[in-house]
């Protein structure tokens, strides 16, 4: 552990992650197993993510709604594979009243048992589609495109803040279409929207493509995902887009009358991203000093730290305020009783892109000292140039973070042509491994058992890239991307 209270990545990558979550003031464990408290700095980043994504979703014509938190147990079982996927990790509401236990506490009132148990939504397909069956009657009602920002619950046994928590926050889009083609188009729109958001805002290069049948969403015909490579060579999936086919429209009896007057089951999609993205941000960009935020998603772009002795205080603060007035998204950290060094430390931990130091020496030279978070580089800038220079640096940090992550991913993407080579790479290098696989779940299962690596997705450049399955040697149509995943 370094003097900032952060374990280094080399020492223990998992511990480093938890230290960043804690020291950057992002989240902490609560007294409820597996549920975290998202702290102010963490939540402010999430709000920025929300705002940007919400704009992109609405631009596409999708409207926001809110559906109930609790789902009747019987709804879940209507789609056979859906319930299989979620039954094992449901928080179940069975009663609706507490009574005095006579000892100063309360117990569940046995007389308040519900007729039908309710499940806290692990995802909202079933509760929404029950309603959709009433909303949709004609082709005129289609496409139906709705989204909701909500909390969901999956009773995970092993949890880690942001990456895997029993409760998490997310956005879930749900659309209904007349044809399969339209539905697939929507699935790919969402996938690409997530991809471009990650690349442009989170400075995170991602691969995107179809998941294997084993890795798809419970109830989908096909699932597509976006994945990024973390610094430890493991992959993290943080957005999925599902082609639900007619599975749910049949299970929930959603029917529309088409233009020819015939009753049809429509085609559906669902897609979502969650607070898991926050975990990816840390794992891709963080360093041993703390979080490193891409400027486009940072709640504050720069912070001014005034440096003074008592006699210079007024002068330095006045000068600092003048500088602050020239900048956008800046904060003047004028807290008393905290040394500039302690402030530097806090800003580094929180990942604020640019620190602006202003001391008597800067003032005498009519300038300020800029320190960028990603490289730690310092430079002196005249006051009249500060606004432009900060803008340039912010843009440069955004690009630098992206390029660093991209280079890392390229350096850690390996093409292999034999199973021995595959095992060697996974064991010694990790990263993304591109290999031919026949799409038989048996070979996929074997790879997972032998190496812990799983199919991540079939990227565009893998489609139609023929070869021989590294496990069974059969001819195959496509080259898949594998990795050990979070």
């Amino acid at each position: 552990m370094n003097k900032k209270g952060i374990t280094t990545r080399e020492e223990d990558y998992s511990k480093w992650y938890l230290d960043i979550v804690d020291q950057a003031d992002l989240a902490e464990n609560s007294s409820v197993r597996g549920a975290m408290v998202i702290k102010p700095h963490g939540y402010a980043i999430w709000e920025n993510i929300q705002k940007t994504l919400d704009g992109k979703i609405k631009e596409h014509g999708v409207v926001n709604t809110y559906f109930p938190l609790l789902i009747p147990k019987s709804f879940l079982s209507r789609e056979a594979s859906h319930v299989k996927g979620f039954a094992k990790e449901c928080a179940i509401v069975t009663h609706h009243r507490l009574i005095d236990d006579g000892k100063g506490g309360v117990v569940v009132d046995p007389d308040s048992k519900l007729e039908e148990e309710l499940v806290i939504r692990p995802t909202s397909e079933t509760v929404m589609y029950d309603t959709f069956s009433r909303w949709i009657t004609s082709w005129r009602d289609l496409p139906l495109q709705i989204n909701q920002w909500a909390n969901v619950m999956r009773w995970e046994m092993r949890t880690r803040p942001f990456l895997r928590t029993s409760e998490f926050l997310w956005q879930e889009g749900h659309t209904v279409h007349e044809t399969k083609e339209e539905a697939v188009e929507e699935v790919l729109w969402a996938l690409n929207m997530y991809k471009s958001f990650a690349e442009e805002y989170l400075a995170m290069p991602v691969i995107a493509g179809k998941k294997s049948q084993m890795e798809k969403f419970a109830g989908a015909d096909d699932t597509y995902g976006v994945e990024a490579l973390m610094q430890d060579g493991k992959a993290l999936q943080f957005g999925t887009s599902h082609d639900l086919g007619q599975n749910f429209s049949k299970a929930f009896n959603i029917l529309y009358t088409d233009k020819a007057g015939k009753q049809q089951n429509p085609w559906q999609t669902s897609w979502g991203v969650s607070t898991r993205m926050m975990g990816a941000l840390i794992l891709v960009h963080g360093d041993d000093k703390g979080l490193v935020l891409p400027p486009k998603i940072s709640p504050i772009k720069s912070v001014i730290v005034p440096i003074y002795s008592d006699s210079e205080k007024d002068k330095v603060l006045q000068y600092s305020e003048k500088v602050a007035n020239q900048l956008e998204s800046v904060k003047l950290d004028n807290r008393e009783n905290m040394s500039p060094g302690a402030k530097f430390n806090e800003l580094e931990k929180k990942g604020i892109p640019v620190r602006i130091e202003i001391g008597p020496r800067d003032i005498s030279k009519k300038g300020v000292t800029l320190v960028r978070r990603d490289t730690g580089e310092k430079e002196f800038v005249k006051v009249k140039k500060v606004a432009n220079r900060v803008e340039e640096i912010l843009e440069d940090i955004q690009n630098n973070l992206y390029n660093t992550a991209l280079t890392r991913r390229e350096d850690n993407t390996h093409k292999v042509s034999s199973y021995d080579e595959f095992k060697d790479v996974i064991k010694n290098k990790k990263g993304f491994v591109k290999a031919h696989w026949c799409e038989d779940p048996k070979c996929e299962e074997k790879i997972k058992e032998d190496t812990k690596a799983t199919t991540r997705c079939l990227t565009e450049d893998g489609v139609g890239n023929k070869g021989k399955c590294i496990v069974c040697g059969k001819e195959c149509e496509n080259e898949w991307t594998f990795a050990i995943a979070y």
Copy 2:
């Protein structure tokens, strides 16, 4: 019921309310008892409310966070009156897994019983303050001012969309202070923030003041509320601000070291408004044609409806687009297969402030026809004046709605000096009734039993307004405001 599918207010005010909720596309019942689906138009209004309030809350220095949905049962019992207030209406999670029932369905796995039951938050004091006890150690950590936007659950037996639902959306602010004075100041800040928001944005005049001890929040020293008068003469409380004293800081062992080095329990506040406000919007401004939205909170301020026969279509649409480009927050409703009349009807139901009709006759006169939602008045305006005129009308609608509601409230606020007069007014006129009450819960209880009217709050002009209690005749310090409430 009129031809719009809306029961008139005179016929049946309760049924009218439900018809507006339905016909204005605000919400609908779900298959989950007491939980509603908030539909796109309803949610867009809520988003506007959220955005505005969130800005005011942040301006005050409060930061957003997110705390867990589920609260350990034992947390609730730590503050004795708090648990009494909420125990009867808790949704309780007892298990975490479903298993196959062998008949195509699922049952709760008895082996998945939780060691301690978890309650879906009815409000978050307990789960937050458990965390606060770790966040706060010194006076330097105070004031702590946090807020969260979240869903909460109260297992109500009789529910009505927006007004009383088992699940609802809200904002809950929670602050911690060094002194009682500071805490009370914060309580009043929140109260006034809600009051000015309601008046300025929702065009809804409200009364604000302290609640009686019987009507206060479970666990508070004092509760303050904002209330508005509905068209049927009943009051609706839609925002509360609680002076929690040291009740929770003692129960949760929150301690800070003061400047003199002494350990102290800090003083706390909590305050919130919910989707109940949406119900107030309907009940205050709605009419027999539908919802009437104050422009400042309407998701869209005006909608253009083009009117044409086939041969004029292109010309009318081009002209309409030109007009749309001159306006802010406008939508061109160019849906095919829907008559202008049906569009007018929909816009009236949804309460959109200004409708802009554009037909060949308007075009030939180089203008448009504006129709305002509140009064139904039509006027012809030349194109070059349309932007200014729409702005003027929007401002006028906002003021008109406020003034109409204010006049109605003034006309329906009655001062009484005897209990007979009180009973007569409540029975025959309803409205707000100002009367002297000795603050003895027995008299309050008697009034409630006899008349169903309850103390609403002690407004500023009632404080120190001495007189004799209308029930027991005792001298009293204050004049209270009573009403039959939602």
